[in-house]
């Protein structure tokens, strides 16, 4: 047998299929189909971890996703290490490596356990009270020591080598949960032919049928029935069956997030298999069949290893063939624990006693237990257990007190009843309602197109559950548009009926006691802590929750919320609904970052946009810079050159001969239609109606508030056709801005906008030799100064392909921009490059482009402007049509503050020492000797070393700047004050002769 606690003839696993694994370095054997929890229990291991705050030894509480205690670290290799994995969820595979957490030096001897003894220090609200003062203790003590002592597993320190997938899916009916209810609903929906997705967090479908032995559905044992239904559903084309898939979030309009664990259970995952797959499902109808979760009893030392939920023990026996002890005790307020005792007794395990808090438990299960010779104590309570790393006995006492009796047990099974899992319903924004008769919250008012069925809807009998689920499934399909309706009926021939339950602390752990009776195991919250929170003035459950951290751990209070609420209600002397339930939030269980991020890693994190000539630049040694999503050639260093030298050379070469620059990233918009000029008049400050065909103009676009939004050169290709360019960064928003006005403010204009940013590759050829370089390649365009003056545009051919050839300059020298269809970009660039070589031209990057334009005082929107700069501030009044009566921003420009004196204006700045290059963003002051904080009157917007001017040049926005020309101002820096002279913005060729030079 794989483990000495594995019982022959019990469970559904195959004894021959063994799997080796290690726990804290110790090698053990389990079976295929085991979870880490069942395999550890089969090997007699109950102690699996240490608690969050007190470092108390902890065991396995449950057999499912609600597990608060048995959190372990699972690793495949150094990088594939996952902390805080629930041992009850992680499936075993051969070679699995498991380690316990939050202990040092070892699980059985943990230094941190001193916290348990010192626990009065760490009571509720400890963090809020302790970390207040002294301030210095934060760095020296609180952060490094106290925070290190608390906590769970350790995050891996290497990048995650796995890949994660995702997809959007659509269906008519989505079924959350694959127990009897979910399967019945899915079957009924699927038979109508609509698309159905059913998911379950477990490896196998069946839900509670995993442990409920007596159920018979359609003449079959419940579990076998479930497997048959799953097989049938999986074979249907319209059904997607997802096991190991948790619905973790329920969002607006039936948008549900599922995460499928694809390879975590595999010893050797396939290379192409993602570790997890995120399903983003849009469903017309959702059937919530998430079942119920058993509650623990709240009594002293209820967290000791060996104390577990009755249904968990039953699952370990009936599904995994594992007994959780040799001599067990049962402490319950509910019938279901009897079923566990009965099954274990029948499997040959000693059942020392059932302790039932109820005065007169009755019913078939109680009778059967008695008939099997199990001692049933009623009206009694377990007030404590003894044994630290594994329980040795339980202490039993009458409810009202009296003599104690100690009964030797090595495991204690408990059940305080069942809490319907309304998490998904609540996440859907449905309002829960308290059912006073059964003391539980159930789905009340629905907010979305969903329905709850089965135990999560308060149905206790399998018969009712299946009947309602079938109806709900069929209705969901019909409401979602199913054409056919094939009735499905299922006969439930046998099942167990359970009643009973209790909320809050049990005898011996009530008001006035100081025992450690845990409510929230994972966050180490005791009944006393909750009462203390109330005592200290917390009235709302939301406050109690945050003060005590009850329900705030990774299990989100699946087992603890109702107990916590009941204890708070009792302490407040209020009804439970008056205290209220805390909000359920996504995720239902923790979701990996990998699943959330999925494909968006590495190269797919964000698009990287490259121009058609990118590969040429790359092969010519370009260093690239990121401009938004674009990669742009920054500079082209030659052997031995640093950036500074390369940029200097590029700048000088352009002015001496010529340079080629890739301007393809500029936004380009084709404005077409009889009202094109009228539209341009409305969107730009400049006049356009009279611009001749074949001519260009530098245009400024404002927002309605009068501030500069974008700029660019616009060419008129025909009476009804403009070729508009925008800044690289502004391309998308300018298009949106223009569409917005066209569609919503000026819809009567007959004009259309088409983005052609990527239709055209743009090669700027700038410098005195630019025409000589281009001309030999061009056909059908007279490039003489007379025929093609500065600021004109011609259509023709270059290298045998169509071109839109602009004569324009962003350097102040003669210049052209050659537009060719993008796929020809590289070939035309190479042809121009070959011509350029004859003239000693160079390729230059964005840095030289910036320097060259700054030498001429040409602004860059977004660098020299910041969204609060008017055309006048930037010295661009000349570009505003004085006779115009309307354009976007015309009114904003005349707002009182925008025309007032004392605005910041763009000016040139020359450092007194021409070698000193100012820092962009540096602040400017009038008097450097004033007290700190100084009055800042402006800042540096652009600053470069200009090889052409043989000095540094800069521009800045300065209060009343233009009136200060000639004045000396100061730029205080950490290592001294820099003196600057305010100047005009043109540093090179002030008269502008070179445009035609």
């Amino acid at each position: 047998m794989a483990g000495s606690y594995r019982i022959s003839g019990q469970g559904r696993l195959t004894p021959a299929k063994t799997a080796r694994f290690t726990f804290d370095g110790k090698s053990m054997t389990g079976l295929a189909g085991d979870t880490v929890a069942s395999a550890l229990l089969a090997n007699g291991v109950h102690l699996v971890g240490r608690s969050f705050k007190y470092h108390r030894p902890r065991g396995i509480l449950s057999a499912g996703a609600e597990e608060p205690n048995a959190l372990v670290t699972v690793s495949r290799d150094a990088a594939r290490k996952t902390p805080n994995v629930r041992a009850t969820v992680q499936e075993l595979y051969d070679g699995l490596t498991v380690a316990s957490q939050n202990r040092w030096p070892s699980l059985s001897f943990d230094v941190g356990a001193v916290n348990d003894i010192a626990s009065p220090m760490f009571s509720a609200g400890f963090y809020y009270k302790t970390f207040m003062w002294p301030k210095a203790a934060w760095h020296k003590f609180y952060e490094p020591n106290i925070r290190a002592a608390a906590g769970l597993g350790v995050a891996p320190d290497q990048p995650d080598p796995d890949h994660y997938s995702a997809l959007y899916a659509h269906c008519e009916v989505l079924v959350l949960g694959g127990g009897a209810a979910g399967l019945a609903a899915a079957l009924a929906a699927a038979e109508t032919g609509v698309r159905v997705i059913i998911c379950d967090e477990q490896a196998e479908f069946g839900g509670a049928l995993r442990y409920e032995k007596g159920a018979v559905i359609d003449g079959q044992d419940g579990w076998s029935w479930a497997q048959d239904v799953v097989a049938k559903l999986a074979a249907m084309d319209n059904v997607t069956v997802l096991s190991r898939t948790t619905a973790f979030g329920y969002y607006a309009q039936n948008f549900v997030g599922l995460v499928e664990r694809v390879t975590d259970h595999l010893a050797r995952p396939g290379r192409d298999e993602p570790r997890e797959r995120l399903w983003q499902v849009r469903a017309k109808r959702v059937v919530i069949a998430t079942g119920a979760i058993e509650r623990h009893m709240v009594f002293a030392n209820n967290d000791r290893p060996g104390v577990m939920l009755a249904s968990a023990a039953r699952t370990f026996l009936n599904h995994y063939g594992v007994v959780v002890g040799r001599q067990i005790g049962v402490y319950t307020a509910n019938d279901s624990a009897y079923a566990a005792a009965i099954d274990l007794k029948k499997a040959g395990v000693g059942v020392a006693a059932v302790v039932d808090l109820r005065d007169n438990p009755s019913g078939p299960l109680v009778d059967e237990a008695r008939a099997l010779g199990i001692e049933v104590n009623h009206g009694r309570a377990v007030t404590s257990v003894n044994g630290s790393q594994r329980i040795k006995s339980m202490t039993v006492q009458a409810k009202g007190g009296g003599a104690e009796r100690t009964i030797a047990v090595d495991a204690l099974l408990m059940s305080a009843g069942w809490t319907p899992s309304v998490h998904m319903f609540s996440q859907s924004r449905g309002k829960v309602a308290f059912d006073d008769a059964t003391k539980r919250f159930l789905p009340g008012t629905y907010a979305q197109d969903c329905v709850s069925v089965g135990a999560c809807n308060g149905f206790d009998s399998l018969e009712d559950t299946v009947a309602q689920a079938l109806e709900a499934g069929a209705n969901a399909a019909r409401d979602a548009g199913a054409k056919s309706s094939k009735g499905v009926t299922l006969k439930v021939e046998a099942s167990e009926g359970w009643t009973g339950g209790m909320l809050g602390s049990g005898p011996g752990a009530g008001a006035g006691t100081t025992v450690k009776a845990f409510v929230d195991f994972q966050n180490d919250v005791t009944a006393k802590d909750i009462r203390q929170a109330v005592h200290e003035g917390m009235r709302s459950i939301e406050h109690v929750k945050r003060f005590t951290t009850n329900g705030m751990a990774t299990d989100q209070g699946k087992t603890s919320n109702m107990h916590g609420l009941a204890i708070a209600a009792e302490a407040l002397n209020k009804d439970i609904p008056a205290v209220g339930l805390t909000t359920f939030r996504a995720p239902y269980t923790p979701v990996t970052f990998g699943a959330i991020v999925n494909h968006a890693r590495h190269g797919l994190f964000d698009p990287t946009r490259k121009t058609p000539t990118h590969s040429w630049a790359e092969s010519h040694g370009a260093v690239f810079e990121d401009v938004g999503q674009w990669k742009r050639a920054w500079y082209f260093p030659r052997a031995g050159e640093d950036m500074h030298q390369a940029v200097d050379r590029e700048c000088v070469t352009v002015r001496k001969s010529a340079g080629l620059f890739d301007a393809s990233t500029l936004g380009k918009i084709e404005v077409v239609g009889p009202d094109a000029a009228r539209f341009m008049e409305l969107l730009y400050t400049n006049p356009w109606e009279k611009l001749e065909v074949g001519r260009c103009r530098y245009g400024i676009m404002l927002r309605e508030d009068g501030f500069i939004y974008d700029d660019g050169v616009v060419g008129r290709l025909a009476q009804d056709r403009f070729h508009v360019t925008t800044t690289t960064g502004g391309a998308a928003r300018v298009m949106n801005h223009m569409e917005d006005y066209l569609q919503t403010e000026f819809p009567d204009l007959d004009v259309w906008l088409t983005s052609v940013s990527e239709q055209w590759a743009v090669i700027a050829v700038q410098g005195p030799n630019s025409r000589d370089i281009i001309e030999p390649l061009v056909e059908g365009i007279d490039m003489s100064d007379e025929a093609m003056p500065h600021m004109s545009v011609r259509e023709g051919m270059i290298c045998g392909v169509p071109t839109r050839l602009f004569r324009m300059s962003f350097t102040g020298d003669r210049g052209f921009e050659v537009n060719v269809p993008a796929d020809y970009g590289r070939a035309v660039w190479e042809a121009l490059w070959a011509e350029g070589q004859k003239h000693g031209a160079c390729a230059y990057g964005t840095e030289a482009m910036h320097v060259l334009r700054a030498e001429k005082g040409y602004i860059i929107v977004g660098q020299d402007t910041d969204g609060t700069v008017t055309p006048n501030d930037a010295g661009l009044d000349w570009a505003v049509g004085k006779k115009k009566t309307d354009f976007v921003g015309i009114r904003g420009m005349t707002r009182p503050d925008l025309v007032a004196k004392g605005r910041k204006q763009l000016v040139g700045l020359k450092t007194k020492d021409p070698r000193t290059v100012l820092e962009e963003g540096a602040q400017i002051v009038e008097n450097p000797k004033q007290a700190i904080p100084m009055k800042m009157i402006g800042h540096v917007t652009s600053s470069y070393w200009s090889a052409n001017c043989d000095r540094s040049i800069a521009m800045g926005l300065v209060l009343g700047g233009r009136d200060r020309i000639g004045e000396t101002l100061y730029v205080p820096m950490p290592d001294g004050v820099i003196e600057v002279e305010v100047t005009g913005t043109v540093f090179f060729d002030e008269k502008g002769d070179r445009l035609n030079g």
Binding site: A252, T438, D449, D464, A472, G892
Partner: protein
């Protein structure tokens, strides 16, 4: 992620295809240059920002690229109606009456709040 009904595409599309464009029915003056400071302030700066139904503009930017208008409840995020740009502002009271109280989904509440018919256990607990 919401579903938004595009009045031009005539179907619901995922929110990822859309972009919000601020409050709707704020007309730009045809003689804006002559507008008073007060009127310009109202036009450009002042927005209603209601708790409840807002009329707002959306653009199906990654779809048909049209701007259109919507009435949306800022509390529930529910779209009460979407309509083409240029169409008149719908009657808010009527929309609210049509909308009903608990309706985050695109479905009338009377169909939504049907309680499951099957009976629940009434067996008492301790």
């Amino acid at each position: 992620m919401l579903l938004i009904h595009c009045p031009y595409c005539e179907e619901e599309r995922p929110e990822l295809e859309f972009r919000n464009a601020g409050e709707a029915h704020i007309a730009r003056s045809t003689n804006i240059a002559a507008e008073s400071d007060e009127d310009f302030e109202k036009f450009f700066f002042i927005r209603s920002n209601p708790k409840g139904v807002i009329f707002e503009r959306w653009r199906h930017i990654h779809g048909c690229a049209r701007f259109f208008n919507a009435a949306r409840d800022t509390i529930t995020d529910r779209f009460l109606l979407t309509y083409k740009a240029g169409e008149p502002k719908p009657d808010l009271e009527k929309l609210k009456a049509d909308g009903g109280p608990a309706a985050w989904a695109n479905r009338p509440p009377d169909q939504l709040n049907e309680k499951p018919k099957a009976k629940r256990s009434t067996k008492g607990e301790a």
